[in-house]
């Protein structure tokens, strides 16, 4: 029989299902891959550069903070990589390098490590960074470009892309564009009829196939949907949050559009544009910052969807999902408090159920 230390007492159970945190993170990354590659393709080299910088900054910040805190390195569980990845997908694809670097730093240092690292943060780190950048640098953060697929005429080559990313050359005016939601907001504020404005912008359809201005990763809505379904099938996430987010956004949108189509976008446009699909499957479902119980998750998702619709319809920003997610992250502890499962043998309020003597069944 081998060494004595083999038989140091370990607590039951002496079996394990085999899951680990790294596997979960890798599955989410796999689910994001198609939409990310699609984003690289339609936005070209500057987008690739931005992605590398954002992810790199996140990983470096993680290592730096772990050194500072003197704790064991958890770099390889993939959580910092995922945070950087999600942040990159939510940035304007041609944003300058410093935006990515600063964003990665904010996400990890302020969004995660100051709370005590993985599992301790109250807010989604990627969304903390995105919102911090958006309110600090609104012009850079809303500088969208029209899709210019790799290899197409006018698309920047690798060197040109690097110069754009590093800010040596400005983004040419010819390629800048407004996102669909931004366009609708501007037109509405000019008193335009929404239906006409949408027709001019090419309607909803372009939003679904992804060749539209927007964040690096949000435009491939169908690919994100595919990734989300993969996560559902794999059991990484459950349906409650995404479905509730979609319902919370689509139901009020449909009602409002039915009442006043000239002022309110249709539900399909809402669902297909902006970062709803990315947010519903990949951001709102963040384990650490979302409720645990099914009822809590439904409540949370509905709230995010509804708030997103409210911000888009009446708020100061064309897109609101990042704000909505952060607000409901803050409400998660409260939701968790009121949505607890019933304990076996007890009533919902926690008192023992009454014993009923009588014939069994």
């Amino acid at each position: 029989m081998s060494g004595r230390e083999l038989f140091m007492a370990a607590p039951a159970p002496h079996a394990h299902v085999g899951a680990d945190v790294g596997r979960t993170m890798r599955r989410v990354q796999l689910a994001l891959l198609p939409a990310t590659l699609f984003g690289f393709w339609i936005f070209g080299w500057p987008a690739v550069n931005l992605f590398v910088i954002t992810v790199g900054a996140s990983l470096l910040t993680e290592v730096f903070c772990e050194r500072l805190r003197g704790c064991e390195s958890r770099l390889w569980d993939g959580s910092a990589l995922l945070t950087g990845w999600l942040l990159a997908l939510s940035l304007p694809p041609w944003a300058p390098a410093w935006i990515g670097a600063l964003g990665g730093f904010i996400a990890i240092a302020i969004g995660k490590q100051v709370y005590g690292g993985l599992g301790q943060n109250l807010f989604n780190p990627a969304m903390v960074a995105r919102v911090a950048l958006l309110v600090s640098f609104p012009v850079v953060m809303t500088h969208w470009v029209a899709p210019l697929p790799l290899g197409s005429e006018g698309a920047p080559g690798f060197i040109e892309g690097l110069r754009i990313t590093l800010g040596v050359v400005p983004v040419p005016d010819a390629v800048t564009s407004a996102s669909l939601l931004g366009h609708a907001k501007t037109e509405l504020s000019r008193g335009m009829d929404l239906a006409q404005a949408l027709d001019a912008a090419g309607g909803t359809l372009s939003a679904w196939h992804g060749a539209r201005p927007g964040s690096l990763g949000e435009t491939g809505a169908l690919l994100l949907l595919l990734g989300g379904l993969y996560l559902l099938v794999r059991g990484v996430i459950r349906w409650h949050i995404p479905v509730a987010v979609f319902a919370g956004l689509a139901l009020p949108a449909a009602v409002a559009h039915a009442i006043d189509p000239s002022h309110y976008l249709p539900a399909t446009t809402h669902l297909a544009s902006g970062a709803v699909v990315l947010g519903a499957f990949f951001i709102a479902t963040d384990y650490v910052t979302s409720p645990n119980t099914a009822s809590g998750q439904l409540l949370y998702g509905l709230g995010i969807g509804l708030l997103t619709w409210i911000i888009r319809s009446w708020g100061g920003y064309p897109e609101g999902i990042a704000f909505a997610v952060l607000l409901f992250n803050a409400l998660t502890p409260v939701i968790d408090r009121y949505c607890r499962p019933r304990i076996m043998g007890r009533t919902r309020r926690g008192a023992p159920i009454r014993a009923t003597q009588g014939s069994a069944e």
């Binding site: 370990a10 607590p11 599992g119 009923t356």
Partner: protein, 512 residues
């Protein structure tokens, strides 16, 4: 059972896990009976409750089945010699416990003849008074063989007072790797059903339902054949889901009814016994045969011949392993030694520990079977919550325990935790949740004991103060009474004097 019925049964029970069962090929190997080893080491406590008291001395010759330990207290069980031979020591032996600490026990050197002592047989157990059946079961030292080892007589005769209507036989055997109940049902179905009929008679229940998980088709067929003539006993096929063997979950699945928290099955008219216990009860009542052996599953990747063995109580686990061909030589070597199943069983430091009445398995697992891996912080994935069959939030409880807030942990239902291990089984961060809960429960119990002690001290102090006060009051009253009495006496005396004086005057007057 129809598909809908099966679905409804599964729906009753939320949570739980489905570990790879690893029951075969051990379950399919025929049951073997192990001859008595050279020595048996019989601990005096093999049950929940107070230890038994040794009633033999070193040097005594004992026969198999002879009582060597007398139960002490209401929840205790008698201990019997599991072989015939000579008592060579009474004292410390290594306990079948993770600590490897010693426990008091009796060592018997076998004469290898297995001569039974005289046994009190009974031809018709159904003519016996239920109380008499309870007495015989207690005499035989029968405890629950499902693992918890609660003295069976207490539960059987408890039924007399509590009006038990339904007897549930726990044959679910949900622990992975274990197949001792499966094997027992395949090979001794008729004995088990006879025992169940005796238990029905003893508890006064109207019917019995035998719950068997659907991953044991051979046992189900054998038991169905054995209950053929019995109108009041039914075999119920239940879904395979851990922890189906938990008493409360089995009741829920079979009856749709929940046992109230802080309550017992008897509160809803149900009593649950393990199927192995039924055979032990039958042997005790029909033949007066005490519980001196049990079926143990030998399993794990490191065991050369996995299977089920009937083992005399007190046999060292290592000798049972040797009987099964020992450890495989072509293997990396064992990662963990366990008594019981991997979900709730305990790790032991050595195989030099005796098999006791509650030992259902001896497992020698390799690293792959244990599923060792790196842990990490909680990412609040909620897997533990979905796995919890009781409806708890293990992650929230663990967070409170880690912060040292055991009171808050208790507020999340810590006391309702059945320590089944489902949460820790699924945790991707491999947080030892069950250990946290045991720790917190221990802390709360210690605190409750402390509070009780303080309460006792306060009561005694108050009683003492009261007593002193009463004594003083009584003393004062006595003094007052005495004073009053002496005053009265004095005034009486003075009155008498006055009277006398007056009388004198009168007299004198009269005289005058």
């Amino acid at each position: 059972m129809g598909i809908l019925d099966r679905f409804l049964r599964a729906a009753h029970f939320s949570g739980g896990v489905h570990p790879d069962d690893h029951k075969r090929p051990a379950a399919d190997a025929p049951l073997r009976v192990m001859p008595p080893p050279a020595r048996v080491y019989v601990p005096l406590v093999q049950h929940i409750g107070s230890p038994a008291r040794a009633v033999v001395a070193v040097g005594d010759l004992v026969k198999m089945g002879q009582r060597i330990g007398e139960p002490q207290g209401a929840v205790s069980a008698a201990i019997h010699a599991s072989t015939s031979g000579r008592v060579v020591a009474i004292g410390d032996i290594v306990a079948p416990h993770p600590s490897g600490l010693p426990v008091r026990g009796i060592t018997i050197e076998s004469d290898c003849r297995d001569e039974w002592c005289e046994l009190e047989a009974c031809d018709d157990p159904f003519a016996l008074d239920p109380a008499e059946i309870g007495r015989r079961v207690a005499q035989a030292g029968v405890v629950g063989l499902g693992g918890a080892a609660f003295p069976s007589a207490v539960k059987l005769s408890g039924g007399l007072g509590a009006r038990v209507e339904l007897l549930i036989i726990n044959a679910s055997e949900c622990e992975p790797f274990l197949s001792c109940d499966d094997r027992l049902m395949r090979d001794r179905a008729a004995e088990a059903v006879d025992g169940i009929a005796i238990m029905l008679h003893a508890t006064g229940a109207r019917e019995a339902r035998i719950g068997i998980e659907d991953n044991k088709p051979e046992a189900i067929a054998a038991m169905r054949a054995a209950v053929a003539g019995q109108a009041r006993i039914r075999v119920e096929v239940i879904p395979t889901r851990y922890p189906m063997g938990s008493e409360k979950h089995l009741i829920l699945v079979l009856t749709g009814r929940e046992v109230p928290a802080e309550g017992r099955p008897s509160d809803i008219g149900v009593v649950v016994h393990n199927v192995g216990t039924a055979v032990a009860v039958r042997n005790a009542v029909r033949f007066g045969r005490p519980l001196v052996s049990r079926i143990v599953t030998l399993n794990g990747a490191c065991v050369r011949e996995p299977g089920n063995v009937e083992v005399p109580i007190g046999t060292l686990a290592g000798e049972v392993l040797a009987f099964c061909g020992g450890m495989r030589g072509d293997h990396d070597g064992p990662a963990r030694l366990l008594l019981g199943g991997p979900m709730t069983g305990m790790q032991v430091p050595t195989l030099e520990v005796p098999v006791i009445k509650g030992t259902g398995g001896i497992l020698v697992l390799d690293a792959a079977e244990v599923g060792e891996g790196d842990g990490g912080p909680c990412i609040r994935c909620g897997d533990c919550m979905r796995a919890c069959p009781v409806g708890l939030l293990p992650l929230e409880i663990a967070a409170r325990v880690r912060a040292g807030e055991v009171d808050k942990a208790a507020g999340f239902g810590l006391a309702d935790c059945i320590a089944c291990g489902c949460c820790a089984y699924v945790c991707p961060s491999r947080i030892p949740l069950v250990q946290y809960f045991h720790h917190a429960k221990g802390e709360l119990a210690a605190r409750a004991r402390g509070t009780q002690r303080n309460e006792t001290i306060r009561t005694l102090t108050r009683a003492k103060a009261d007593r002193i006060e009463r004594d003083e009051r009584e003393k004062a009253e006595a003094l007052a009474r005495r004073t009053a009495a002496s005053l009265a006496a004095a005034s009486e005396a003075s009155a008498a004097v006055e009277k006398a004086a007056a009388g004198t005057n009168e007299e004198s007057g009269a005289c005058a």
